[in-house]
Symmetry: C2
Subunit: 341 residues, 2 copies
Amino acid sequence: MSSEHPPAQRPRAATRTDVARYAGVSTAVVSFVVNDGPKPVSEATRRRVLDAVAHLGYRPNRTARALSLGSTKTLGLVVPDATNPFFAEYTQQLQQAAADLGYALLMTAGGPGPDAELRSMLDLCDRQIDGLIVARYTAVGRLEELHRHGTQPPVVIIDAAAPVPGYATVGPDAADGMSMVVGHLLGLHDHQSVSLIIGDSVEPVADGRETGWRQAHAQAGRDIGQVARTAFTRDGGYRAGRELLQGTDRPTAVVTSSDLQAIGLLMAARDLHLRVPEDLAVASFDGTEETRYTAPPLTTVRQPVTAMAAAAIDQIVHHRPPTHQTFPMELLVRRSCGCPT
Amino acid sequence: MSSEHPPAQRPRAATRTDVARYAGVSTAVVSFVVNDGPKPVSEATRRRVLDAVAHLGYRPNRTARALSLGSTKTLGLVVPDATNPFFAEYTQQLQQAAADLGYALLMTAGGPGPDAELRSMLDLCDRQIDGLIVARYTAVGRLEELHRHGTQPPVVIIDAAAPVPGYATVGPDAADGMSMVVGHLLGLHDHQSVSLIIGDSVEPVADGRETGWRQAHAQAGRDIGQVARTAFTRDGGYRAGRELLQGTDRPTAVVTSSDLQAIGLLMAARDLHLRVPEDLAVASFDGTEETRYTAPPLTTVRQPVTAMAAAAIDQIVHHRPPTHQTFPMELLVRRSCGCPT
DNA sequence: TTGAAAGCGGTACCAG
DNA sequence: CTGGTACCGCTTTCAA
């Protein structure tokens, strides 16, 4: 007595053979009119075919098409955490951009265990995706292994804070963006220095965010503030925040490397009865929608997600030569830095 | 001088024919050992095949497999807004649950225009998905049209606040959940009534959230508070909040039908210099991670997203008969209702 | 302009 | 236990 349902037995969908038979033509002709090409078809037969298509409710089977063409018109996406609003926004834009070009998006969020990621990537490749979009943080190391497994689809690394040799990368101009906010804090609000809460990157390559933060201090002729390395999450920001704010020599201004961290930091400040911005100025990096609604609203530099998504898709769909594409960030001044609103 | 890249020309991947040739067996045998079945293979040849597979780095082409089997092991997902943290969490869990059963997830977020949604669904179907997962809010009407277009994959509606005749649905026990929070506010904190900010549903069917809110008042022997209908977004909550809080007869307690709305409401309260919870008690519905970090942290009823996701996937993968599955919500008491922390 | 037929990479039935 | 082979649905070359 299984709870399984009988195989549903929905009526077999019409195939191009049915259409051909119904219209009294060959299957080749059906193909020609459906894709209009590569050969011309006389207007008369064309009509007959179209009628047959409409009558039978024929819809081409894209799996079969993919097999024949060797292209699925499908892209794979791997992000470390689909729950991070930044990636959520990014994913949404990627999906849009892909759809505009007739591509669909196969999603994976890094599961548990370090191999999970590699396995997802392999699975995506087995599904014959036309390209792989990976968030840099998660995957660079894995890509090598992927190759070793003999599968190498076109790859683009999104959210790249710096170029990755050999790969196409897309990212914000992180150094410039970070330097803008930090400069704002240093200049307009005249803090002695700005401390930095930054995500603990797996890769050795310098994070543009840290570079920008250093540059801004140098330009203002100040010594840099403290650095705390932690996860890119709210909790990471909270913990790093508590540590920073309870230490001797409490900073008067802190920037974070993600919105999520800033939100955690805000909470840490509240717990310690520090007022933002009066006792502590805060600014974040990413500029997702969420930052407009925090208490107080966050001053932030926004990543141009839409443009980046479009570039990533274009890169991969058109097989552009691998380069590092960089997009300007936008400074959004709100209450958390001390500016009046 | 196009910026296109030459077609990359990566070496053709090994096919089962290559493996068969290399191992000196027929393609059928290769198939039997790779899937071990449906026919047995002698240990000796089995080894030879496996060696060949390893040597050539053979990976089965799932597109071809799908065509042959008539199943892509792929599910389609349609949500109204992938940016909403609730859907982000849900999506993540769905993806996990699907992956555990060997399925991949094809994502779509409702694009612009009312037809966009239908078009995405059709596109998913053309890609031969084995099942369609839709967020109720977005799509119920569209499903009828889908059928009219002659494509009807198994469907499950997630986030269903009430049964939808003819469809498999999965949802929280919204009435019970809402009744819990409202009861908490009415009982422990002794408000005269609780006002409700609720998403403007497209469907006529009663939203369980509203029902629960009414029930709680009835049970406490109180008259219901005011109702504001608005979008499920932060902005929706903000606007509804301002209206409610500036009106005559300002409520002392408000529940919202989503976390996002509560966050907007919190902001509205701040703008009007109302303290939460002293001047206004707030509670939300969804219980995403974000609610832990608001100021003050939100009292909320949490949707059991993981369980719901697993159920939705199971439903569709195993073709269960269409029923309405309901999952208990959990009350999370935090600061925004006035409880001490 | 149209039709016949050879793939695309696998699956699985039918003989041997 | 293994090999040969007919599909799955669509694309496209080659001939007519």
